[in-house]
């Protein structure tokens, strides 16, 4: 590679080595940074706790983050396009409850449960998209409003479901799939599959390209003839679908429809941002979201093993997010 132009480093108080500057300038430099921090955290907890580095514990972490991860994959697409969905937690509850209530009756098929739960979720997401694009309401306001509406309607209908006994439904949340000697929890596989799907969409399709393009310059996209409003509505609908699917997996995990997921949109959004997606849109990759989700999971699990109080865990989680975003800001001065 050629020498760095002199103007590049001149604005910096500290001179960084050229390869490091090149690395930091990459579109996906966050991914390397997160990978480094994740490995560091794993090494730290392995030294500190004899129970940490173990496949059972790894799957505990995986199971714990899978619900957030599934919703975060679709939220990543939406957020790269410059959108935001604060109704994710409410949709998860509505969807999980709907699926569980249907599955409590052994006469009903699992396909019916999926169809109704995902149908409700997609409809809510679609409504978000219409309110944001066609009426022009700010996404924060629109989706907070939707959060209250959905939460209220869910609780007004049922406060919870009875226990589900259907094996197939419970397998979605509690099952394990043997691959070689490893028994991988089904939710982990579902999360990885969801992430892979979103990765392929972002990397190889026109839809993925337009997600980045709209996040950077929506008016340029409109002028290039792209149906920006249609894209946005599709992305809010997908975000709703992702949340709805996560809600079904959660219901399978808990074995009943319990509105546990209230407020989980903030975990989802903070994982996505930790992964390198900017709230103003246009940047981010799905690998970052995966690492963001895993890092939060590892930190929570490790701190629990070290008997660190849940309140302090929250402090650490928040600090990590703020440090990551601050470093990203500083990076832009390079």
């Amino acid at each position: 590679m050629t020498a760095q132009p002199s103007a590049d480093a001149s604005g910096l108080a500290v001179r960084l080595p050229a390869p490091l500057v090149t690395l930091l300038r990459r579109r996906d430099s966050n991914v390397f940074f997160l990978l480094f921090v994740l490995v560091a955290a794993i090494v730290f907890f392995t030294i500190q706790s004899p129970y940490f580095f173990d496949d059972r514990n790894a799957f505990n972490i995986g199971r714990a983050v899978s619900i957030t991860g599934i919703a975060a994959a679709f939220a990543t697409l939406l957020m790269i396009s410059g959108g935001l969905d604060l109704s994710i937690g409410a949709i998860m509850n509505a969807s999980g409850l709907a699926a569980a209530v249907i599955m409590v009756d052994p006469e009903n098929s699992i396909i019916l449960a999926f169809a109704i739960a995902l149908g409700i979720s997609a409809f809510i997401g679609f409504s978000n998209g219409i309110i944001v694009t066609k009426i022009g309401v700010n996404p924060i306001i629109a989706t907070i409003g939707m959060q209250f509406v959905v939460r209220g309607m869910t609780l007004a209908t049922r406060s919870g479901s009875a226990l589900v006994r259907d094996r197939a439904f419970l397998e979605i949340g509690q099952g394990e799939l043997a691959i070689g000697t490893l028994e991988i929890p089904v939710p982990v596989i579902l999360m990885l599959a969801t992430m892979l799907l979103c990765y392929l969409v972002l990397r190889f399709t026109q839809f993925g390209k337009y997600i980045y393009a709209i996040g950077d310059n929506a008016s340029a996209c409109r002028r290039a003839g792209i149906n920006v409003a249609g894209m946005r509505i599709a992305l809010y609908t997908l975000s709703g679908l992702g949340a709805g699917f996560a809600g079904i997996v959660l219901a399978g995990l808990t074995g009943a429809g319990i509105p546990y997921a209230a407020g989980s949109e903030l975990s989802v959004i903070s994982a996505v941002i930790l992964g390198g997606v900017s709230l103003s849109g246009g940047v981010g990759v799905i690998q970052g979201t995966l690492l963001g989700v895993l890092l939060v999971g590892v930190l929570k699990n490790g701190m629990t093993l070290l008997n660190i109080n849940a309140n302090w865990q929250m402090v650490v989680e928040g600090s990590v997010l703020m440090i990551a975003v601050s470093l990203d800001q500083l990076k832009q001065r390079i």
Binding site: T205, D216, R223, A224, I226
Partner: protein, 247 residues
């Protein structure tokens, strides 16, 4: 008999909350003509261009393409009639590379059903296109955020050339360019003209306007005040129209 105009407006008006941005403007542009659109700030040049590009709908009046009335509701509608516009802000996505911007809205697919992008083919075609246009850039994989003003302009021009436009509208193309870059741009406009394309160019630079245009249209406060053949006028007269309007 006169040739059928490529684009024609009849009594075209646009109001913004009671402000008249464009007032009953009627112009007619023939195939292969290069027309300069000049006027002071707020004269209505951008409004007229936005209506022709489908970015804005008129409040009253008609737009005719090849003699038939059209109603553009979205820039897509104008593009479907082979009208391409290079906006003052260039309308590029900074986070995409040159090829991705050139093909924005015109992608080639490896699998049309899944809309899988054929990136290799698009990179190849972008290189060929830039070569044809004698545009030099470091690499078609360079992100637009890393490009100079001239290179950005070249990217926007390449997109228009790619789209195969009949009518090309350039909004203040030289405003952000250096001397050499302006030269290259004007050369490129002449090359488009040689290819038989019709061009509307908005500019403040009298020298540029007089160099490339066949005809000059002057707007003032939303009204058409002059429509002169470039060969039959001079910069002083045009400037007088811009400042004083119709005598």
């Amino acid at each position: 008999m006169e040739t059928q105009p490529v684009v024609e407006t009849k009594g075209l008006s646009r109001y913004f909350k009671g402000v008249v941005a464009l007032n009953e403007v009627s112009v007619s542009i023939s195939p292969g003509e290069v027309v300069g659109l000049v006027g002071d700030n707020g004269a209505g040049k951008s409004t007229l261009v936005k209506i022709l590009s489908g970015d804005l709908e008129p409040s009253a009046g008609q737009v005719l393409i090849d003699g038939a009335e059209v109603h553009f509701r979205h820039p897509r509608d104008a593009k479907n009639r082979q009208i391409e516009t290079i906006y003052q802000d260039l309308a590029l996505c900074e986070n995409l590379d040159i090829m991705e911007n050139v093909f924005l809205g015109h992608e080639s697919y490896r699998n049309p059903l899944l809309r899988l992008l054929d990136r290799r083919r698009m990179y190849r075609e972008t290189s060929q296109l830039l070569e044809q246009l004698a545009i030099r850039v470091p690499s078609t994989r360079e992100l637009v955020m890393n490009l100079s003003g001239g290179q950005r302009q070249a990217t926007a021009l390449a997109r228009v050339a790619k789209a195969g436009a009949r009518l090309i509208i350039l909004d203040e193309p030289t405003a952000a360019l250096g001397v050499n870059e302006t030269r290259n741009l004007l050369d490129l406009v002449m090359r488009f003209k040689e290819q038989g394309k019709t061009i509307i160019i908005i500019s403040h630079e009298m020298r540029d306007v007089f160099e490339v245009t066949d005809r000059i249209i002057v707007l003032k406060r939303g009204e058409l005040v002059a429509d002169k053949r470039t060969a039959e006028t001079d910069p002083d007269e045009i400037v007088r129209y811009i400042i004083r309007g119709r005598d």
